[in-house]
Amino acid sequence: MSLDDLGRDGAHALLREMLLIRRFEEKCAELYTQQKIRGFLHLYIGEEAIAVGALSALTADDNVLSTYREHGHALARGLGAGPIMAEMYGKAGGCALGRGGSMHLFDASRRFYGGNAIVGGHLPLAVGLALADKMLGRKAVTACFFGDGATAEGVFHESLNLAALWKLPVLFLCENNLYAMGTAIELHAADTEISRRPRAFGIPAERVDGMDVVAVERAVRYAAEAAREGEGPRFLELMTYRFRAHSMYDAELYRSKAEVQRWKERDPIQLFERALRERGWLDDDARARVENDVLGEVEAAVRFAEESPWEALEDLEKHVYVRRVGADEGGA
């Protein structure tokens, strides 16, 4: 969709969602230093336009899979800031009952299949979800988010080939933030234009400005329509940048301050805000209302997490196996 098609309300919804992710992530960083959140914590700051643009182009019947840097996708998919925050606290009110933490957000009712912490490990899962949809005659598509680093794994190539060979409705959404942890893309990819690789499997692919929420929305909507109509998988290389360290701490010796600064000038939230102001769709008052609204939601999420009980120790083994397994048990 163009900005015109989105309209003022549609545009405000996207802005709000991006800002929610930004403020939520900032709060997570703060809670990590207070040791309320533990383990590994990978923030999505700088990349908000991708999750928000992409997920606003999908339907509730579609499947979504992501990596360990998935808070943004989970929020944009509507898992709720409260259950997500409670998950990071390890509380019973968490979307994965405290079993998963930051890297393993999960909500089958939203068709959100993780939160996957093995790089590349969820790509074949995505292809499998799409296979099930095709075999069961469902008109859903499966959106699979992964980083540029994941494209070096063997399973990346297997997944692309099989999805193409069997014409499965998968959207491969590569968040190319130019680094895999401390390794610049020039050091991990023989061909740094990742979108050329899927073409070798006959998968239509394009590069998209991942800092432009409208461009992302448009590209994903178009790709999803094609996949939904049985044309097979689509691949988008979404160019972006993470503004923070890979996880909570790293010395960031692998990139220059000037480079980070250059990218921050293309902050997706500021870019979008500017576009809305130019149209006269946003003024200081409206902006302040969004800010307050979002801060309130984040505070409420923290309160929900604080007040949520711990899982009972007796329930430790409760979900290691499902209790009823049968032919009638499809996915949620």
């Binding site: 390890g90 405290g98 490990g121 942890m181 390794t183 711990w310």
Partner: protein, 328 residues
Amino acid sequence: MREIRYREAVREAMLEEMERDERVFLMGEEVGHYQGAYKVSEGLLARFGEKRVIDTPIAEAGFAGIGVGAAMTGLRPIIEFMTWNFSFVAFDQIISNAAKASQMSGGRVPCPIVFRGPNGAAKQVASQHSHSVDPFYTNIPGLWVVMPSTPRDAKGLLKTAIREDNPVIFLEGETLYNVKGEVPDVEADEAIPFGKARVAREGDGCTIVAWGAPYYVVLDAAERLRQEHGLECEVVDPRTLRPLDIETIVESVKKTHRCVVVHEHWPYGGPGAEIVDQVQREAFDWLDAPIERVAALDVPMPYASNLETLVLPNVDRVIEAVKRAAYL
């Protein structure tokens, strides 16, 4: 002797062996420019250059297998897994290629390679990042499996591993990198042989076998058992899980008549069960009580701190097990 950290001990072993033998090189994710995800390889790139300290993409199956190939034709690679959890992606290369090279070539082609990296749970890193891989790799003939608990053992055993002509699985403790301990001076060039357990604490009340992070839990438990129950435990660290020095363990059990095995891997099988099996056959007539085991509880590691604490072996569980074995 001087005190250094476990992390530094591992680094020193690599540095000294790379100086000693120019066929040795280090390869893995973030080992060079980033200085290692856990800073184990800090400074090695500056010292040896990009030819011998090689940063790889996230391609475990690829670089593990590439290491095996290079080892079969004259090099001596050290392959770092950022953590052993990611070795599952490379499982086939280790099992089907590294472990088989010698036999498949009729003993003509050695595969002198070390796979190393942090093993076990850390602090709340959840189910996909908390594996103790000891059982998976100890099951494979053709591999040696080492898991040092102290800085001295880490250094001395890694030096042996790098000089060894067979593939070695070298499991470092993810939570042990900051542990300090005495390590001989560089001139000593101490290489600790495989297949020799170390008696960490002597006693006649009960033998406790432990390695890795639980080793320290056991030392604390042994001290409390002495203070609270006057029971002197003998703590044996096998140091190498394959080959396993069962003699030293059995000798200890013949003295104490009781045995508790403590480990972080899951209870089903693994070196924990193997040790129990061998001890009950070799020392059956000397045992006064069934052999006890303390292991991680049998669940994928949950993230929540209360559940994770419950899962991992702790001092109280070790003391309870020893009390059962000693009828206290």
